[in-house]
C-alpha cells in the first residue's frame, strides 16, 4: 500500500501534476483512518468475547494463577515507548533528517520485537502452566485476543523494517512522510489497543 502511491507521488513531481482531489486529505492516510475505524470493531469483538466469557471457565488455570503484572507492565511500557520513538522518527523524516529517521525507525521495530519477545515468553510460560487454547474458555479467549494483537504487532514490525530497507534502496524525502505517517498511525493504534487490553484483561483481574 505504501509504495503504491509513492510512485504515484514521484510521477506527480515531474511533468504530471498530482491528479485533482476534492479534499486536502491524502488518499492513503484517509484509507488508513477508515481502516482503523473499522479495526476498532474488530478488536471490540475480540475483547467483547473475552469479557463475555470472563469467569466462565470450568477448569483452571485461571487468570490470577498466571498473570504476572510486573512483567506485563514492563512490556506495556516498552510498547508505549516504541510509540514515542515512532513520532520522533516521523518528526525526523519531516525535517529531512534521514539518519535520525533510520535510527528511530529501527528503534521502533526493535522495541516492537522486544514486546513480541515478552509475549512469546508469556505464552510459553502459560503453556507450561497448563493453559492452552483447548484447556478452558480463558485459554481460548486469552490466546486468540492477545495472539491477534501480536499478529498486528508483527505486521507493524515487518512494515517498518520494509520502510527502513526501502529508504536505502530509493531515497526517502520529507514529502514521502505520509507513507511513514500511515505506518505510524497503524503502530499507534496497535498501541492503544494494548492499552485497553492491559487494563481490561490484566489489571482488572487483580482488583
Amino acid at each position: 500500500m505504501s509504495a503504491e502511491a509513492s510512485s504515484h507521488a514521484a510521477s506527480g513531481a515531474s511533468a504530471h501534476p498530482a491528479p485533482y482531489r476534492s479534499s486536502k486529505l491524502p488518499d492513503v492516510k484517509l484509507l488508513m483512518w477508515v481502516f482503523l475505524a473499522s479495526d476498532t470493531m474488530f478488536f471490540g469483538s475480540l475483547i467483547g468475547t473475552y469479557l463475555a466469557y470472563r469467569e466462565r471457565s470450568l477448569v483452571g488455570p485461571f487468570p490470577q494463577d498466571l498473570f504476572d503484572i510486573p512483567l506485563t507492565t514492563v512490556s506495556t511500557f516498552v510498547l508505549l515507548m516504541s510509540s514515542f520513538l515512532m513520532v520522533l522518527s516521523l518528526h525526523a523524516l519531516r525535517q529531512n533528517d534521514i539518519g535520525k529517521f533510520r535510527l528511530w525507525t529501527a528503534g521502533v521495530a526493535f522495541f516492537g520485537a522486544i514486546f513480541l519477545g515478552f509475549q512469546v515468553f508469556e505464552f510459553t510460560h502459560f503453556a507450561h502452566a497448563g493453559l492452552s487454547i483447548h484447556q478452558n474458555l480463558f485459554g481460548t479467549t486469552f490466546f486468540i485476543l492477545t495472539g491477534t494483537h501480536g499478529v498486528h504487532v508483527t505486521v507493524g514490525v515487518i512494515w517498518l523494517v520494509s520502510l527502513l530497507v526501502t529508504s536505502y534502496i530509493r531515497p526517502m524525502k520529507a514529502k514521502d512522510a505520509v507513507y511513514l505517517e500511515i505506518a505510524g498511525l497503524y503502530w499507534h493504534f496497535v498501541d492503544i489497543v494494548w492499552i485497553v487490553i492491559f487494563t481490561v484483561v490484566y489489571l482488572v483481574e487483580f482488583v
Binding site: 504515484h8 488518499d27 481502516f35
Partner: protein, 630 residues
C-alpha cells in the same frame, strides 16, 4: 471522439511484466478498470442469483403440497441454507457494490476508484469465495445450518461434514473483499469528487453508497471475528462455542446479528439510492427533500447498529433488553418512512413517464412499505414471540430484501443498461416481464404471511395435510412459477438488448446526473474533460439552466485539471494472485493440509510485497498530442 488520444505506457521490468492486454481473458483477470470490475460484479452477482433462484424453486416445489418428498430433508436443509447465503452474501449485496463500482466514479466525475488494485482484489476475493462455497455441492454436501449458522449447530460434534467449513471460509474471505471495497469507496467519494461537487451536491445514489460503505466497515469485523472463532473451533480445537466447556452459543447470535442487522441496511441503502435516481428522472422533477433524504440515510446508518437484538427477542434476554431494542427498532422506522414520503413527494406533481424502471420503482414503494409494516409488527417482542421462526418472518424479510432490494436492482438494470452497453432493452417486453415478476413476487410471499400466522414454521421440509396450510403453500409455489417466468423474460430481454437492442445516444432517459454526460458505454478514461459542477443534478442544470437557477460551467471548464493528461493506472496480476492464494490457503486449512496452507500464506505475503513495490504504474492519456511518461 474528435481527436484520437495518444497513449504512453512505460513497461517496467518486474517479476511480472505489467500486463497491457485490452481484450481477452488476461485483460479481465488483470483489469483494474472500475467499469469492467463493475460489470464483473454485476454478472457474477446475477449468476449467483440464478443459482439461488433455482434453489428457491426447488424449495417451493417441495412445499407445493403436503407430505411430498421431491427433495429429501438433508438436501432441503442444504437448499434453504444455500439460498439464503447466496442471496444475501453473493447476489444482492455484491449487486449493490457492483453498481457502486460502475456508477459512483461516473456520478462524481472521477476516472476510477481511489485504489484500483484494491478494488480488483475485492472483486476477485468475493468471486473466488463465492465459487468456493458452491464447490461444496460436489465435495461432500453444502452447508445445512441456515444462513445464520447458529452455534452450536456448527460445532464439529454436531456437524462433522465439510459443509460448515465451506460456509465459514467462503464467507470469511468474501467478507474481506467487501470490507476492502467499502473502504475504497469511502476514500473515493471523499477525495475524488469533481471540482465544485460539494457533499451536498453528490447524487443520492452515491450518498447511499457512502453510508453503506461505512456500515460495511463497522458491521463486517464482528462477523469476521465470529467466523474466525468457529473456524478455530473446528480446525484447531478452541472452545469458543463448545458448551461442554461452559461456552455460550448465544454469543454467536450476538456477533452474527451485530453484523446481520446492519447487513439488512447495507443491502437496502443502495436500493434506496437507485430509487432516488429513477424517480426524479422519470418524474422530470428534482428529488423532493434532498437534504432530508441524506440525513435520514445517515440516521438509518447509525440506528442500524443499535437494533441487533430484535432478531433475538425469543432467546430470553429479559424484558429490559427486549424493551430497549424494541424501541430502537420502532425508531428506525421513522427515517425509512421519511424516505418513502419523499419519493411520493417527488412523484407528486411530476410529469411521470411510465417506463420499465419507474414501474419497478413504484412496485418497490408498495412492496417495501408492506415489508416495513410487518417489520414494525415484528419489532414488538410480544408479537415476535408468537410468529418467531414462522413463515410470517420469511414473508417479512422477503418483502424487504426481495421486494425492496431485488425489485429496485431490476429497475437499475433497465435504467443503466443503455449506459453500460449503448443499447436499449425492449420496453414492451420489459413492462410485461415487470408485471409478471411483481405479481409473481406477491404471489409467492403474500400467502406466506397467512401460513405464518397459522403457525407454519420456517425450514420444515414438509407439513401434514389437514392443518390449513395446503392452499397458502400451493399459491406460493404457483407464484414462484410466475416469478420464474418473469425472470426468464428479463433474461431474454437482456440477451435481446445485448444483440439486437436499439442503439441509443448518451442520454436516452433525459436524466440528471453526470454519468449520462459521457458516451454510452463510457470510454476507459470515463470523461474526456474533467467535469466541473456547480449545482445538484449537473446534467439537468446544463440542459435546463433556468429550472435549476444556475449558470452551468463551460463544457471545457475542467480542461485545466487534465493539464498533465489523464492518469490511467496500470493493470496488475497481484490482486488476482493474492485472492487465489487466500482461496487455496482456505482449502488447505479445510482439509487440514497445514503445509500447503503455509505455502499459500507465504505466497500471499509475496503478492502483497509485489503489489506494494510494483507501484501504481500505468500511463497518461492526452488529447492534445503531447507525450508524457508516467
Amino acid at each position: 471522439m474528435a481527436t484520437a488520444p495518444t497513449v504512453t505506457s512505460p513497461t517496467r521490468g518486474k517479476i511480472f511484466n505489467r500486463p497491457t492486454w485490452t481484450t481477452g481473458v488476461g485483460s479481465w483477470l488483470t483489469t483494474i478498470d472500475h467499469k469492467r470490475l463493475g460489470l464483473l460484479y454485476i454478472c457474477t452477482a446475477f449468476m449467483f442469483m440464478i443459482f439461488a433462484a433455482v434453489e428457491a424453486g426447488l424449495i417451493r416445489l417441495q412445499l407445493l403440497s403436503p407430505t411430498m418428498n421431491i427433495v429429501n430433508p438433508d438436501h432441503f436443509n442444504q437448499l434453504f441454507t444455500m439460498h439464503g447465503v447466496t442471496m444475501v452474501f453473493l447476489a444482492i449485496m455484491p449487486l449493490g457494490i457492483g453498481l457502486a463500482n460502475y456508477f459512483v466514479p461516473l456520478q462524481i466525475g472521477a476516472r476510477d476508484l481511489a485504489f484500483p488494485r484494491l478494488n480488483a482484489f475485492g472483486y476477485w476475493i468475493y468471486a473466488l469465495g463465492g465459487l468456493m462455497i458452491y464447490t461444496s455441492w460436489f465435495l461432500g454436501g453444502a452447508p445445512d445450518v441456515g444462513w445464520f449458522a447458529y452455534a452450536p449447530l456448527t460445532s464439529l460434534s454436531h456437524n462433522p461434514g465439510l459443509g460448515v467449513d465451506f460456509y465459514m471460509f467462503g464467507l470469511f474471505i468474501s467478507g474481506i473483499g467487501t470490507t476492502g471495497t467499502a473502504m475504497n469507496l469511502i476514500v473515493t467519494i471523499i477525495n475524488m469528487r469533481a471540482p465544485g461537487m460539494t457533499m451536498m451536491r453528490v447524487p443520492v445514489f452515491t450518498w447511499m453508497i457512502l453510508i453503506m460503505s461505512f456500515m460495511i466497515i463497522y458491521a463486517f469485523p464482528p462477523l469476521t471475528i465470529a467466523f474466525i472463532e468457529v473456524i478455530l473451533d473446528r480446525t484447531f480445537g478452541t472452545l469458543f462455542f463448545v458448551q461442554e466447556a461452559g461456552a455460550l452459543p448465544i454469543l454467536w447470535q450476538h456477533l452474527f446479528w451485530i453484523f446481520g442487522h446492519p447487513e439488512v441496511y447495507i443491502i437496502i441503502l443502495p436500493a434506496f439510492g437507485v430509487i432516488s435516481e429513477i424517480i426524479p428522472t422519470f418524474s422530470r422533477k428534482s428529488l423532493f427533500g434532498y437534504p432530508v433524504m441524506i440525513l435520514s440515510g445517515i440516521l438509518i446508518g447509525f440506528m442500524g447498529a443499535a437494533v441487533w437484538t430484535h432478531h433475538m427477542f425469543t432467546t430470553g434476554l429479559g424484558p429490559v433488553v427486549n424493551t430497549a431494542f424494541s424501541l430502537t427498532s420502532f425508531v428506525i422506522g421513522i427515517p425509512t418512512g421519511i424516505k418513502i414520503f419523499n419519493w411520493l413527494g417527488t412523484m407528486w406533481g411530476g410529469s411521470i413517464r411510465f417506463t420499465t424502471p419507474i414501474i419497478y420503482a413504484i412496485a418497490f414503494l408498495i412492496t417495501f412499505t408492506l415489508g416495513g409494516i410487518t417489520g414494525i409488527m415484528l419489532a414488538m417482542p410480544t408479537f415476535d414471540a408468537q410468529v418467531h421462526d414462522t413463515y410470517f418472518v420469511v414473508a417479512h424479510f422477503h418483502y424487504v430484501m426481495g421486494g425492496g432490494a431485488l425489485l429496485s436492482y431490476l429497475g437499475a438494470l433497465y435504467y443503466w443498461f443503455p449506459k453500460m452497453t449503448g443499447r436499449m432493452m425492449s420496453e414492451r417486453l420489459g413492462k410485461i416481464a415487470a408485471f409478471i415478476t411483481v405479481i409473481g413476487f406477491h404471489g409467492i410471499f403474500f400467502p406466506q404471511h397467512i401460513a405464518g400466522l397459522l403457525g407454519m414454521p420456517r425450514r420444515i421440509q414438509t407439513y401434514p395435510a389437514g392443518i390449513g396450510l395446503e392452499l397458502w403453500n400451493a399459491l406460493s409455489t404457483v407464484g414462484s412459477w410466475l416469478m420464474g417466468i418473469g425472470l426468464v423474460l428479463i433474461a431474454i430481454n437482456v440477451i435481446h438488448g445485448l444483440t439486437r437492442g436499439k442503439r441509443v445516444g448518451d442520454d436516452p432517459w433525459d436524466a440528471r446526473t453526470l454519468e449520462w454526460e459521457t458516451s454510452s458505454p463510457p470510454p476507459y478514461y470515463d470523461f474526456k474533460v474533467q467535469p466541473v459542477v456547480n449545482s445538484l443534478d449537473p446534467l439537468w442544470a446544463r440542459k435546463h439552466p433556468e429550472a435549476m437557477h444556475v449558470t452551468p460551467p463551460a463544457p471545457d471548464a475542467g480542461a485545466k485539471y487534465d493539464a498533465g493528461g489523464i492518469h490511467i493506472p496500470g493493470q496488475s496480476w497481484y490482486p488476482f494472485l493474492a485472492s487465489a492464494a487466500i482461496m487455496f490457503g482456505c482449502y488447505a486449512l479445510m482439509y487440514d493440509n497445514f503445509i500447503l496452507a503455509i505455502v499459500c500464506g507465504l505466497f500471499f505475503i509475496f503478492t502483497i510485497f509485489g503489489w506494494a513495490f510494483e507501484g501504481v504504474g500505468g500511463h497518461h492519456v492526452h488529447f492534445d498530442g503531447a507525450k508524457e511518461n508516467a
